[in-house]
Symmetry: C2
Subunit: 139 residues, 2 copies
DNA sequence: ATACAACTTGGAGTACACTCCAAGTCAAGC
DNA sequence: GCTTGACTTGGAGTGTACTCCAAGTTGTAT
């Protein structure tokens, strides 16, 4: 079981696992967002399970709006070892807060969408309403 | 009160109200995301409260990940009047669904961030743990 | 009259995050 | 020995969404 977890992956497998494209993975390495990957004798990149999971974590940060530049800062801190843990925690806490306000805005927007759909349904039943009853939501 | 609601705004006031920059508002008009705005005698754009609220709604769609192209489609439908309401509803419902899955992903990511912070705190208390106890979350 | 501020236009430039390409290497199968 | 496929590199190109700029116009204040 340990063996399976420590199996080494090609860039193709890494792409499959992370959902990133091979080009994107190379690009991330090029800009220093991912560390220079180990190469096999023939020069091909190899990734450990651990590294793949690190990449997946990065994709989560990205999916929640963190920029590549911020992710790069975070990763550089990781390279410095345990001394940088407080800074890493503060980056994560800060990001979590941003995600929270994004969630709030999304929920609010969902509410507004519902309200608008409701309004549309009313207009379809009674076209006279059209523009009058709804100052805060435009057509 | 009606008077206040129907007061006409300059592009500067529109920018303030919507949070968009003046350049962005002009850009949106240029690409057809906003309708050609009324001009005063001197050529300056004017916006009604109703239009400002329409813009704010667009910024909400944008903030939740809708592209300018999709927003444009939506607005073009609005121009066609009530016949396009079913299509507009379906765009909004579709978008709401996307927002929902984005929220789910965000919540999941928050959970993972918490887990990681917890792990960091443990490592700081007991540096021996460092790499061993946490296969699914990288350093 | 003149300065200033708030606009106008068309178009060029920028930032971010990829995405694609050409030319080359290497290992395996026929 | 030759083809095929999976990679490598450096660098160029793309899409989205702005953002900035220069040159011109208009309205108000001094």
């Amino acid at each position: 079981m340990r063996d399976i977890l420590e199996t080494v992956s090609s860039i193709q497998q890494a792409a499959e696992f992370t959902g990133l494209s091979e080009d994107t993975i190379r690009y991330y390495e090029k800009i220093g967002l991912l560390p220079y990957a180990d190469r096999k004798a023939n020069g091909h990149r190899t990734y450990s399970k651990h590294q793949l999971e690190g990449m997946v974590f990065l994709t989560r940060l990205k999916a929640t709006g963190m920029t590549l530049e911020e992710m790069k800062r975070y990763r550089k801190l990781s390279e410095q070892g345990t001394v940088s843990i407080p800074q890493r925690i503060s980056i994560l806490k800060e990001h979590k807060k941003r995600v929270q306000s994004e969630i709030s805005r999304s929920l609010e927007t969902q509410r507004i969408i519902d309200y608008k759909i409701e309004h549309y349904n009313e207009v379809m039943l009674n076209p006279d309403l059209n523009n009058t009853a709804c100052d805060s939501i435009e057509e």
